[in-house]
Symmetry: C2
Subunit: 690 residues, 2 copies
């Protein structure tokens, strides 16, 4: 039997597991009428947004598909590419959509679970996270294996053709992911910032208070941004790492085995994740610490299974000579875990960095901002060094050498380390994706006027979610950097550039490098401004409602939630276009002017700078968020103190940092590589300076 059938079986297992988990969640009671009503409003808002988002993105997809079809007709690529572009986009959207569907079904059920116990709330929310995690990996691997079989049949087993075509099949997912992350990120942060600026700061009412007209929009935002956006994002990472490894396998002369390994490794990771997820359970009277160790246990068991079985997989598929590739996988797994732990250290209020940040709020908002930015900037050193160490180990362990002029073998190792890092995504994403569900459940508890103990339980889950999200971010960031490096090499290979002669001192490379380093800044500026603009509209609308609708503050009048959802929707859809299009056209324009070498320089500059900037923005934002929570817990005068006001300023600045601009950068750097790969033949033919 073709070894690739194992990959297909893995994909099916993931999807079956997701379906079973989903039906388990849906069987639970949704709770009281009031909860149902509010959850229904959130669900409708999220559905309405996603539908309109998909419609907008569809126009973009149609235009690009037409361009690709013309390029296919003129011989620059096969007709598989436009088809795969659409299918890839649809699968990516589907991953986000299913995740969002289950999340908006699970939020009410988590509150209802929390009325009973912390454990039943955890089970519902973790199950919904598992649905999302398994859907992402299942759909991703299904997409790739089906294409593999089609291409294998069409090209009669010519691995070079298969790999080269499949490499182009990531662009659809990357485009969809960027739209989803940017659009969802603008929506969620505009609603959040807008709701806070008027509700908390001006009107002095607590978060998630039903009197705030933007509160439903805020909860819708959690679903379309943190859930649907993240689903599309990690779907893209997963697919990207596998196809870049496949392309480099062929470039390195490892043939069909090298091409198959990443996919079978992904299937192994799925099985490991399924096994790991059975270990996520606690006693009925579990403490928060028990909960955390339950989640960690599941992740570590899955990682351990991959670490052990990976050895047999590598030696079985590539032969015992390539046991070093196994070391590359291990280095990826370990690097992801270290970055996750470090992220937690930097951003959690249990440790010194965030405690120090909280202290700087005492001298006002200016020092809060300076300290937070300094913290984020400093925190880039460890992830960079860990990724560099991982590149070093995986490159040399898998047989790469220096100076010989053949970098492909070692770079395949680097790509495989990213696949290793993401192999257990099924379960790491589950522990990550349950956070927004718990967050939403907290909002529902507040809005439906539950007993304070219920809110305490959902808050405990939410806080736990922040910790596990740090681990998830470690994998997302590390894998993005490694995958982007692999994609640069794959692009050079696609252009048939002699990798050893691609000089950094070639002026087109230097020019590309400067432009590439600038693009993440320009992109982040666009996404941050977008949040600011959309939030301003929410501020104006909420102020208007407070002024015009009588009795809102006394609870006698009902706010018009829908109008805020509508404003966020329009704002997000309108403002996501420019940054997304920038990411798409930049490599093409640079390629047509500076040629293929210029594109390699640009991708190098964008990857290095984008990676560092993403870490900085995510960590500054995370630390500001937790410093604020730390003060709300009573430190430095607690809620209402001057320190708290300064901390709220930090948190508000941090919102677009950590939930819009930062995570979008991870996608941007890969999308640019993907676009470059697809347009490689055009760039080589028409680039001016080459």
């Amino acid at each position: 039997m073709d070894i690739m059938f194992w990959a297909l079986i893995g994909a099916v297992i993931a999807l079956v597991f997701a379906a079973v988990a989903a039906s388990g969640v849906l069987k639970k009671s949704e709770g009281s009428e009031k909860i149902k009503k509010i959850a229904g409003a959130i669900r409708r808002g999220a559905n309405a947004y996603l539908k309109r988002q998909y419609k907008t993105v569809a126009i973009f997809f149609v235009i690009v598909t037409i361009v690709l079809a013309i390029l296919a007709a003129t011989g620059f690529m096969t007709f598989f590419v436009p088809i795969a572009f659409i299918v890839g986009g649809v699968f990516s959207a589907l991953a986000g959509f299913i995740g969002m569907k289950i999340a908006t079904a699970a939020n009410s059920r988590t509150v209802t679970g929390a009325t009973k116990s912390l454990n039943s709330a955890l089970r519902v929310s973790f199950s919904s996270g598992a649905v999302m995690g398994m859907t992402v990996v299942g759909l991703g691997l299904l997409y790739l294996t089906i294409w593999y079989f089609i291409l294998n049949a069409y090209f009669a087993g010519d691995t070079a053709q298969i790999a080269s075509n499949m490499l182009m099949f990531g662009m659809g997912a990357s485009c969809m992911a960027l739209f989803a992350r940017v659009g969802g990120g603008i929506f969620t942060k505009a609603a959040d910032v807008g709701a806070d600026l008027v509700g908390k700061v001006e009107a002095g009412i607590p978060e998630d208070d039903p009197r705030n007209p933007a509160t439903i929009a805020d909860n819708v935002g959690d679903n379309v941004g943190d859930v649907a956006g993240m689903g599309a994002d990690l779907y893209e990472s997963y697919v990207g790492s596998i196809i870049s490894a496949g392309a480099l396998a062929v470039a390195a002369g490892l043939g069909g085995g090298g091409l198959a390994l990443p996919m079978v490794l992904a299937a192994l990771g799925i099985v490991a994740s399924v096994i790991g997820s059975f270990f996520v359970k606690t006693k009925e009277n579990a403490s928060q610490k028990n909960l955390l160790s339950a989640l960690h246990k599941g992740v570590y068991i899955a990682a351990a299974i991959v670490a052990v079985a990976g050895y047999f997989l590598v030696t079985g598929i590539l032969g015992p000579d390539h046991v070093g590739v196994y070391v590359a996988i291990l280095s990826g797994l370990v690097a992801g875990i270290i970055i996750g732990y470090y992220t937690e250290y930097v951003t959690s209020d249990h440790f010194k960095p965030t405690k120090d940040l909280a202290e700087s709020t005492v001298t006002g908002p200016a020092t809060t901002i300076i300290s937070g930015i300094a913290l984020g900037m400093k925190s880039t050193a460890v992830p960079v060094i860990v990724v560099v160490a991982s590149v070093l180990i995986s490159y040399f362990a898998s047989g790469g050498t220096l100076g010989s002029g053949s970098f492909e073998v070692g770079l395949y190792g680097v790509a495989i380390s990213a696949v290793g890092m993401l192999s257990t995504l099924g379960i790491t994403l589950a522990t990550d994706a349950y956070g927004p569900v718990a967050d939403n459940a907290g909002g529902l508890a507040e809005m439906s006027g539950q007993d304070p103990v219920v809110r305490e339980r959902t808050d405990a889950l939410d806080s736990l979610g922040n910790t596990t999200a740090a681990t998830g971010k470690g994998f997302a960031i590390g894998s993005a950097a490694l995958t982007a490096l692999a994609l640069i090499a794959a692009f050079a290979d696609q252009c048939q550039i002699d990798m050893s002669a691609l000089s950094l001192l070639d002026p087109t490379v230097l020019m590309g490098l400067l432009i590439g380093a600038m693009l993440p800044f320009l992109f982040s500026s666009m996404t941050m401004s977008a949040v600011g603009k959309a939030a301003m509209k929410i501020v104006v609308e909420v102020r208007r409602q407070f002024r015009e609708i009588k009795g809102i503050m006394t609870g006698e009048g009902e706010p018009d939630y829908e109008s805020c959802v509508d404003i966020c929707t329009k704002g997000a859809l309108h403002l996501m276009l420019a940054p997304a299009i920038l990411g798409f056209v930049a490599p093409i324009i640079v390629g047509l002017i500076l040629g293929a070498n210029g594109v390699v320089g640009m991708l190098g500059g964008a990857t290095a700078t984008g990676f560092v900037l993403a870490v900085m923005m995510s960590n500054s934002g995370g630390a500001w968020d937790n410093a604020k929570k730390y003060i709300e817990g009573g430190a430095h005068g607690g809620k209402g103190s001057e320190a708290h006001k300064a901390a709220v300023v930090g948190d508000t600045v941090g919102d677009p940092f950590k939930d819009t601009s930062g995570p979008s950068l991870n996608i941007l750097i890969k999308l640019m590589s993907m676009v470059a790969v697809v347009f490689a033949a055009v760039i080589v033919q028409y680039g001016i300076l080459q």
Copy 2:
């Protein structure tokens, strides 16, 4: 006669001009006893700081000199290198010291001039700026020409040896510049932020109020940071651009003429600057607009002279075949001017970006910060594209080709474009350096209780200074990026690496690239935290004085100004060490682990990211500053409004951005290249991965 005598003559002209201008300034009356007393306190504080700074830096210089002497004894370099290291450091310090001396003498004379008319105030302050500008270029060119004659005699005209040794002679200036910029930057911003946080925000007294104990420290800071720091900084840029061009000239096979051209071009620029400075004069009743056009006139006349005479210089020295090198000079000159204009557009409150930023203060400090960061990030695109265009033009115009494997000829053009950009530094620095003098004069007017019309005149000068400073920054930033690119190539040449085979996809290059992109962030984090820490100490001290010294607020008790100066001095000297040492050791450590190729990657990553980050930080900071001034001029509720409070937060965050971290990055990227060049032989011999 050796053509290099012309360069020597140019250096002497600059120094003579500086001496004449200095004696002209010193002849003016210093004014009333009260002005003298306060000016004396500022002068003593600045002197005391600089002396202690030089002592601290001397220890560092002694240690490094010993290391260099050992390396020279073991054959890794000539004994000229340690000598030049010390001499270079001393010359750089001297440039800053003389600039500071004349500035602290001119501030009182500017106030006294302002009691008469705007024009006499301008003449004093501009003359003191000219002393600084001409001292920097005179000392820089003197240092280089003397070394040229020594090396020419010693190596009997072997241009390869001369250029290779001279390339190493920039490290002393770069080290000194980094210490001066970082130390001075920490001093000035700690005093400024500390004085504002307690004086303006808590006690509600105006800026420069003599009741504020930190006010003398604030004025001392302007001198040690903005004057002495800037002098050392631009001295380093000037020397760095000339020696990197010289090294590439030899690598490109252009021989002695190519080596001489940058120095003779610098001499031409000096003569042009002298001529231009005679045109800076206005009628007695000049308006502010007249003043600006007077300053611009001087700069443009100098640039026009270089643009015309440069043609004959290039064709005379290199021959008519190399007329393209002349185009490179022009491209550098024009790029500097464009970046300057764009910087003014982005940061001046006469244009849309800063006006929009001012509007965002209405919704509070959080939106002020988000908008300001977004503005800075967006503003990186134009300078990057202008520098890229300048690289493109200068590379191809001067005869560089693609794919042939020989990049040196074109890269020499890139280096020469930086020399062209800086050739008129004598006058651009004069228009830049007079700003802090006017700023100080304003402080003196306030503290000595002058008639309001005097303060209005000094404010007009100060505001004009902000505009011309933008032009100065354009040259500093553009030349830093171009020089850094040239230095990377010079390093590769020094290591005898085949430039065409230095692959970006070499794993050591990729690892270096990631580390290099991270270093500017880590460095900025250190310098920003340093400002925060030192400012906190000032806050504590000022609060203590307000509490303990009776009658400060009524004007009956006198604050202890010295203690604040002392705290800033200790803080700056203590905290400048870590970031400066990071810049020095990073290339050595990376070189010893990743080898020479890894260093090239690191320098590429640091240059691209550092350049972009420096532009972002400078422009965000400049725009926040002017948005605050715009509001203080009456917009959005004026002084005391909520919008103004938010604008003050923005300005406070912007202070370390624009005056400490941002400008230091320009030096950092060049210092790292300089260190790499000096340690090239050690790295090639002992680097592990190569």
